[in-house]
Symmetry: C2
Subunit: 765 residues, 2 copies
């Protein structure tokens, strides 16, 4: 058998196994004529993209074997799940991971049956699929994942099949430019294979229908050397030889541009040409299941059998159902198999970060709330040393906001990754920089996901409002983690850490469009096992939370922390204790003296905490007999019952802290309903009154923003007076004073364009 | 004065007015030396992009005047709000909209003062800005908005300045390909002006730093004829003449490609060259406020005065502060002014849709829940005739899912818009098609926003899970509507209508990645005045809701409706009554006979409603003495108090319907917490038990999906038995039967790969 014949045999085998997965319950080797009872009752799957994916697998395996090239495979059209599963089974890794799916006839039968079957495996490439780091569901992220995997893996080639449907999405269209942040020396290589099968679900694709010279220019414009390949083994093999020579040239500095492949094949290639008089192969009709109603339609049943036999399974599998030796010869060895690559089960490669002691970065706090610090600036110093101590396994992502978010200390030790033009006035740009900045939250997220899933660490800093841009990507990553945690062979990976700064309360420059704290609402919809939300109110608590998150595994951690100066509340030791508890009383701000309070002022988030403290100070001065308890919440998940979240507090703890019958005024960073949602089962819930962002905003002063949304100190005092019974005339008088103070502050702001000095300079001390 | 001199004067005037807005409280004409008290205490704004935006305004005005070309201007770098405001003031339209900002010295003072000032206007281009349909906040959507505005406006040119920062975003990168859906005959033209000022916030931009031949190829690859322009009036003017000749060629069919402009200028052009020894003009340091601390730093104050005087204001404004006649000569007339274009205040052009009578499409329902229909298929017939009756003012958007969502009846009357290659096997593709399909939710959303804001109508159909992709765009559009509603001169526009189909409960083909009903949680965070959520449970209610939404104005309407067959519950008249109420009792499914029930089974969403009905049937049969009330909710906002939402029910109504002390088992389409969030203030809330999607899923059968999340009929019966006291041993026995039935169904599914026939074929009758 020639090499091309072996590749073709492998391809036929993979196609056979793919069709079998979509259709067959039994009779996997076609040892008897196909009968209706061999067919699944519900035919679910996506054939259209599958033969093309198999084609790439078959050809890349030759390269791996010949060049001993470490490679992983990202299937952008991951709907073609059968392809990745077939490949893993042929390589033997499927049976290694799932021994009951043995590499024989019985295993093949189980392999077929389980696909898209209740109790079985999903129809897409998924965490269950060996060799995958990329779910085939929502489209658009394959190329960003591929680059994320390639960063800091200098010996790796990430073959990334981009579907021509997916290529129409925004995130994918932006991802091509990732090559401007790739370092030939320290990073691996991404080989994009743009697979033009011409159609998406029901439509032709744009890139398949523009003139070829435009397509070539587009890819050259993105900075690649495109190679066009038709549906031919010889063309694909010849091109891959050229392409991997070009990759070698790139790696040793002889060439600045990386190649990419444009592969044109018919959609549903090798499937039925025509069904019921309508063309199928090469059209959108091949997208899912080309032959329907196979159980009830003898003609379709016969066509299916003919289709399956067209791959000549008798040449591909022995009588026991094992792949014949010629097939197995094409399979690379051990971890070089793409389906067994440790890069695609990143936890296998994961090493803990070398972390400096975060306590060394602490702000000294002599008395609480008497001095101010910019929390993210302090965290920046810690991150600087994290980067320095982990020069190949940690990256900081941000959509051009790292300095804006005041993490600029990191530039003392590293640069922004940049491999395009540099001019004399530029600062902090270099190939190999650890800070990844491009004005695309999608790319930051996609790169980080790829980087984490291949066993590294990172943090994504982002303006709070614009993290919504990647809501859908967060959802998909959280779902990946939820599923992966249940798969024994998937090893834990580093958590995906968000630092949301430049938050809703301090958008002085930008106004309403930049004011949206709703990402937290999206996050808490995902399973409690994978999501964590922290709102450290000062610099030392941010350090403690940051360190904790960088050590964690398999979570999505969301940290909300401002970049503007806020009062320092905790010494480092106190901060650690507070963050470990997740919430607690601020005794110095409280007047309950350990007794049952008259009212609880709770707060979460830096600005709401500041206003809560100021309200507590007013109450202490003007209503000294009122027993006020101030509670600050850092770990939002603590508010839930333990049945809902592993961090959840028992009802007894909750009741002790918040009381069961006293008014609780909760001043919250985000939309107020989230607090109700987390606490509605608590006994005292009816007494809980939440203030938060209620979608009022514009470009105005910080305190005016608080007043617009009634989270300001004056309004909190009014809330207390309105809710604590029997406070008498002093309180009524104070209430009027507060209302007046609001009007005065508003008027001052409108006249002077800034907050009154008493507000700007307020501190507890 | 030559034409170039007039353009330059206009540009200088706009730049002067822009700097004035950022810095000045007073002394607008510099009639006296600049003093600290003339300076704003907080300097907020974005200078960097502003002079480039002003440059484009100045030059496009000449084209408009010379060619009488209808044109609007979309400022992708909308952070440069001062530019659009300056332009509108110079054109006189600002004073027309805001008479207190008169076109004289006093008006100029107010213009300066109000910018980014408490009680004033936002720092970005915003709804408050005359001539704008595009908020300058979150970046990435300018070009999609531009195309949306151009569709079906054959005489319009939309000049769209794309910032080189924005150009890095995914949505923008994908938007270039919108030209493949543009019809030269029926649509207008988009003129993209890619403004390379070289930097984003703190970084160089990718497109400014790739070789120019790559950039040109990229734009050619996107299908444009690029023209490169440097910072020169002559170059810009000459190029615009060429470009508008090319546009004319395109419009009359002599040329297939549209031009675009690549404009290279320094960032912060004409601003301070160097500040404190560091280069500013032409670097990222010019991004926001180039000179800081002006009040306290006499040197900076002097530099500011020098900078302002460099525009020679004495040549531009007369002693009264009015623009000199030479400036006003360059301004186009009346509605040709871009700042006064009715296209940019689309409500002025809005005509109601000609709607067929939706009752004509009704499914005949002889008895409730005895036959099944695919709701979206029925809606498709209605939409077909909406399209036919409104051939130039209605478009249907969808990311390649219109047929998948079973709206394919529309293809009986129209095609998909397509202006790229067409092959013989293709169907329903044509220039001018009313269905806009590309595999990008971002483009569907962006086009639709642009189309609506210029006075037309539309509907976006989307898989439910993937609508999260445009969460951030929804947020921004909702904020636009929230603000626009408060601006008297902004006329109401058609609502943005979503049809979310292929929803969480019926993802048989696709599994976990396609299961996410959380968009509703994002939607309800926005202001009650602009958001509406509907969950019609059958075809006739979908028709009624659909008609209602197409008639509405200034809302975002979210309709969740399945494409799979569901039982028909309502005759058309009943459906109208039910949808008008928004929720109501299903008397035929209830056994309370108008008396106080023992338990309320509430439901929202088609699949949860089906399971609720099946549970009610089981209870009726096995526990006939139990008084069950079945309540279906169509209009989710009805559940809130009237203080929270205009659709909100009074407590009295709520209590009458749901009782105050009986258990309510609420079976919900989405994440269960949303119902708690909407109802936590109700008296009976403690008795409310919500079932919904709890993030369990995979590719499995429809009923197995219900069981995985405990929304199935058997579990609902168990919930009732667990919560209604004193039901005795019959109920205990029934509970066990239900638990067994779940196990049996699960086992059957795992053996046979489909749901038991009794489940598949269940109906009430």
């Amino acid at each position: 058998m020639t090499t091309m014949q072996r590749i073709d045999a492998y391809w036929r085998a993979a196609n056979y196994l793919s069709v079998g997965q979509i259709y067959l319950l039994d009779n996997p080797l076609l040892t008897e004529p196909l009968r209706p009872e061999h067919i699944k009752p519900r035919l679910l799957g996506h054939w259209g993209t599958t033969p093309g994916l198999n084609f790439c697998f078959a050809h890349l395996n030759r390269i791996i074997a010949e060049r001993h090239q470490e490679m992983i495979y990202i299937a952008g059209p991951g709907h073609g799940g059968p392809a990745a599963v077939a490949h893993a089974w042929l390589e033997g890794s499927y049976s290694e991971k799932y021994p009951e799916i043995s590499q024989d006839a019985d295993g093949m039968r189980r392999l077929f049956r389980q696909f898209s079957f209740p109790g079985g495996i999903p129809s897409h490439v998924a965490p269950e699929t060996p060799g995958s780091i990329h779910e085939g569901g929502e489209l658009g992220y394959s190329l960003a994942h591929a680059y994320g995997a390639a960063f800091d893996n200098p010996d790796l080639v990430v073959a990334c099949v981009v579907g021509d449907g997916e290529a129409e999405t925004g995130p994918l269209a932006a991802s091509w430019h990732s090559n401007k942040l790739l370092d030939p020396e320290r990073d691996g290589v991404v080989l994009p294979i743009l697979h033009l099968n011409g159609y998406k679900i029901a439509n032709p694709t744009v890139l398949a229908r523009i003139p070829e010279d435009e397509l070539v220019k587009l890819m050259e414009g993105y900075g690649y050397r495109p190679h066009i390949v038709g549906p031919s083994h010889e063309e694909m093999a010849g091109t891959l030889d050229t392409v991997f020579d070009q990759i070698a040239s790139y790696k040793d500095g002889r060439s600045a541009r990386l190649p990419m492949i444009i592969l044109r094949t018919p959609k549903g290639w090798t499937g039925p040409r025509e069904v019921d008089g309508l063309p199928v192969e090469g059209t959108w009709r091949a997208h899912q299941v080309p032959l329907s109603g196979v159980r009830d339609d003898p003609e379709h049943l016969a066509m299916l059998e003919e289709w399956l036999r067209s791959y000549r399974p008798e040449e591909l599998f022995d009588a026991a159902g094992r792949p014949v030796p010629a097939l197995l010869e094409t399979v690379p060895e051990g971890p070089l198999r793409m389906s067994a690559s440790p890069y695609a089960n990143g936890g296998e490669l994961l090493a803990p970060l070398t972390l400096p002691d975060f306590r060394d970065y602490a702000v000294e706090v002599k008395s609480p709330a008497s001095q101010s610090t910019e929390p993210t600036r302090v965290l920046g110093a810690f991150l600087r040393d994290v980067i320095a101590a982990n020069p190949r396994t940690f990256r900081l992502m941000g959509p051009d906001e790292t300095a804006s978010n005041r993490l600029q200390a990191v530039f003392d030790t590293t640069a922004r990754a940049w491999n395009a033009g540099i001019e004399p006035t530029d600062e902090h740009l270099a190939a190999g920089g650890r800070v990844m900045e491009v004005l695309s939250e999608h790319l930051c997220q996609g790169w980080l996901e790829g980087y984490l899933l291949t066993g590294r660490h990172g943090l994504f800093n982002c303006y709070e409002a614009f993290i919504h841009i990647i809501d859908a990507m967060f959802n998909q990553h959280a779902k990946w983690l939820e599923t992966a945690k249940k798969i024994p062979w998937r090893r834990p990976v580093a958590s995906l850490n968000y630092l949301l700064s430049s938050h809703v309360w301090r958008q002085d420059h930008n106004g309403f469009s930049h004011q949206d704290p709703g990402f937290l609402d999206v996050v808490v919809n995902k399973k409690a096992e994978v999501v964590r939300v922290y709102l450290p109110p000062d610099a030392n608590t941010l350090l403690s939370v940051g360190d904790h998150c960088l050590r964690s595994r398999d979570y999505v951690n969301v940290i909300v922390a401002g970049k503007q100066p806020v009062l320092d509340l905790f010494t480092m030791d106190e901060a650690i204790a507070h963050c470990t508890r997740g919430l607690g009383i601020l005794p110095w701000a409280s007047t309950d003296e350990g007794a049952e309070p008259d009212v609880v002022l709770a707060c979460a988030g830096d600005v709401p905490t500041l206003e809560t403290l100021a309200a507590a100070a007013i109450l202490r001065e003007h209503l000294p007999q009122l027993k006020v308890r101030v509670v600050n919440v850092v770990d939002l998940m603590r508010l839930q019952p333990p049945s809902e979240h592993p961090h959840g507090m028992s009802d007894a703890e909750f009741d002790t802290l918040f009381t069961v019958d006293k008014p609780v005024i909760f001043n919250f960073h985000g939309y107020p309903w989230l607090i109700h949602r987390l606490t509605y089962r608590r006994r005292g819930h009816a007494n809980l009154h939440v203030r938060g962002y209620k979608e009022e905003g514009t470009t105005t002063t910080p305190f005016d923003m608080c007043m617009l949304n009634d989270i300001d100190r004056y309004h909190l005092v009014m809330d207390v007076i309105d809710r604590v019974p029997g406070l008498g005339t002093t309180a009524a008088h104070l209430r009027q004073q507060m209302a007046d103070a609001r009007l005065q502050a508003r008027a001052y702001t409108r006249e002077h364009g800034e907050d009154p000095a008493a507000i700007r300079n307020w501190s507890w001390g």
